[in-house]
Amino acid sequence: MSHEIESFNKCVFKITQRELFHSLLKLNNEMSVKSEVMVRVENLVKTFGDVVAVNGLTFDVEPGEIFGLLGPNGAGKTTTVKILLGLLEEDSGEIEVFGLDPSKEEIKIKDRIGYVSEDPLIYRSMTPRMLFNFISSIRNLDEKETTEKLRYYFESLEAVEYYDKLIATLSRGNKQKMQVIASLLHDPDLLIMDEPLTGLDAKSAKVLKEILELHTERGGSVIFSTHILEVAEEVCDRIAIMDKGKLVAIGTLEELSVMANKAGADLEDIFLKLTNQDESVAHIVKNLRKMLGNNKK
């Protein structure tokens, strides 16, 4: 096994990250110009029993943009993402992905989407070698081109040494890396990423952000679901704020700050203001101070 890793290492070029991504660009120099709206969602409703997970959600995602779905836990982000992928069926509303209906054109849509889930779904019973061979076979990818891409991704995410290890034995972060690579390998037009930075170290997180930027530069789009405000602020071009299944606001950071009447404020303040949680937070802080403030250590 170690011999295989060594031989793998030898094949990988030692290059800087910038060069790496420019090489990736060259690999796909015939950029398709995507003028179509990537995703269009109108009045989306999804319920689970009595719980309304998504309630009248409307948004669209343009080519070349990173669209953030931002909201607290239970806001309906993951449900929305799953409906877009056809993993869940909507109760009502209209959805189009690449102008296609996800319930009717599943395969065509999935062929053009790369998905990173919150909890890694990739098979733990495989090694990355087996996993990527499997993906390549299922997606009918070109062997030579895919191998080259795979080497770049493994090198840039510093994951070469795990190539022949059982995925079940990898750490959360390394599993996440495998999932990210699996979502990128077929060069999708749309990346749907649900909390993709979870478990990643700072360097890998930075590399992933660069990958996303390059992806949009090439005309691709990203739906980036997160509850971490700093990440959304740094990565996303436009942000949809969700709360309790409803769309609270949508726009760029500047547009959101205008909506919240908080010019120049950071996303945290805007978010709390738009979701009407700013007063509630102030109240909680006051109570906490009252309870803990008298107990000096």
Partner: protein, 445 residues
């Protein structure tokens, strides 16, 4: 996408399902289990060993119909009513044991498939729902492929061979051919029925093992009961095979009931689809129709028709279950939870030892290995008592009552202390945790 390609894909899904079930069974020892399967090929092939063991057991069961057929032809003239009863009972025992063995060996692995987890990633790949449903069916087929083949073939082969040897000259080729056809039909139906039951039970076990609240008393009780029933059944099956094969000839030679009672019993039982109708149908084809009361024939045919209806219904339910588990909209079992109010949040402190024990119970009840370890000491006396009642000890060590008792006691003392100590120490893997636990126990004392 072609079915052959989907079948290939199902191999990966199957492997993932196996790992899923194994990890769930390993519970808190998951890390240790993963290290073991990295190094040890045998540990990785545990499912294949299980498959072969089940196939061997199912194949071994064929001795029951073979012995029955020989006994039917040897004794039929003496008491047709009783021989029909004994023959049907033996065949029914065979069918029941087949089902139980299939469940005992396949259930622990099949609930990995039934949990639905292994299909989640497949849904993100370029397959449509129809493809994924097929992958679901193929994955299940892979999990029982060897048992399926053995289960379908063993009865027709066994019956045809036994009938040819026992009464080949007397019956003629035409009758033997007819018996073979009937045995194939019965075997196929029985196999479908058994697989459908396996699917339904597998899903139920998946719900119990995965989706109940982790710490609730009810969940712990359900998990322990399920595992206890499972273990008791598996032990009883082995005993039933031993006793069945050994005592079967005697069943054909005695006639404890009078002819009238036997006749009524035959008529009543032949109407019951599971497990008797197949046994009666097989028996009436083995013997001369003219010697069987017409009501028993009517009963067997009616029972068989009811059995077909039952097979249809359970198969329909099983297929629905298989479709559901591979569906992205899989309905997770949702236990009725009381909504927690702020007043429900409160601390109830206890001694550290009790706190450890409470935590251990919730861990243990999710781990097959440890549940087995805890139940085994309880099972050993029962098992030994049953073996004792069959005269197994007397045969081996003679009639010395004291020696017998001493050996049984020694078995309990040695085995129970070993099993209990292993089961209690296996919970904690860290040396420091273990030291802390014993220190706490001593302090409490």
């Amino acid at each position: 996408m072609k079915n052959t390609e989907l079948y290939k894909v199902s191999k990966s899904v199957y492997k993932e399902a196996i790992l899923h079930a194994q990890l769930q069974s390993a519970g808190s020892n998951q890390q240790r289990f993963l290290e073991r399967i990295q190094k040890d090929r045998v540990a990785r092939s545990q499912n294949i060993i299980f498959k072969f063991m089940a196939a061997v057991y199912i194949a071994t069961l064929v001795f029951i119909p073979i012995i029955s057929i020989f006994q039917i032809y040897l004794n039929f003239g003496s008491n047709p009513e009783w021989i029909t009863f004994a023959g049907s009972l033996s065949f029914s025992l065979f069918f029941m044991l087949q089902l139980v063995i299939l469940i005992v060996f396949a259930l622990m692995l099949s609930w990995g498939i039934m949990s639905g987890g292994p299909y989640e990633w497949v849904h993100t790949l370029p397959f449509n729902r129809n493809h994924i449903q097929k992958i679901g069916l193929f994955t299940f087929a892979r999990s029982i492929n060897i048992q399926l083949i053995v289960m379908s073939l063993v009865l027709p082969i066994g019956v045809t061979t036994a009938v040819s040897l026992a009464a080949g000259l007397y019956l003629g080729i035409g009758k033997i051919f007819l018996i073979s056809i009937v045995s194939i039909l019965i075997s196929v139906l029985n196999t479908i029925f058994n697989l459908a039951i396996l699917v339904i039970l597998g899903r139920k076990l998946a719900i119990v093992m995965e989706e109940y609240d982790f710490n609730s008393k009810r969940a712990n009780f359900v998990r322990i009961s399920t595992m206890a029933i499972y273990l008791i059944t598996s032990m009883l099956v082995v005993m039933a095979i031993q006793i069945g094969v050994e005592k079967l000839p005697i069943l054909f030679q005695i006639s404890p009931l009078n002819a009238g009672s036997t006749s009524i019993m035959n008529i009543v039982l032949s109407f019951i689809p599971v497990p008797f109708s197949l046994g009666y149908l097989m028996t009436i084809f083995l013997v001369d129709f003219s010697m069987i009361p017409s009501l028993v024939i009517v009963g067997s045919v009616t029972g068989f028709l009811l059995y077909i209806l039952l097979v249809y219904l359970v198969t329909k339910k099983a297929l629905k279950t298989l479709r559901n588990i591979s569906s992205p909209d899989i309905k997770r079992f949702d236990p009725k939870r009381k909504k927690t109010a702020i007043d429900d949040i409160q601390i109830k402190s206890t001694t550290p030892t009790r706190a450890y024990m409470k935590r251990d119970i919730s861990i243990i009840t999710r781990e097959t290995q440890q549940i087995m370890m805890l139940i085994m000491p309880l099972m050993l006396p029962i098992y030994t008592a049953i073996l004792g009642s069959t005269g197994a000890f007397t045969e081996v060590i003679g009639n010395t009552g004291l020696t017998e008792l001493f050996i049984v006691l020694m078995v309990f003392v040695v085995m129970n202390s070993y099993i209990l100590s292993v089961s209690l120490t296996i919970i904690e893997t860290g040396e420091k945790q273990l030291q802390l636990r014993f220190q706490l126990i001593l302090e409490n004392k």
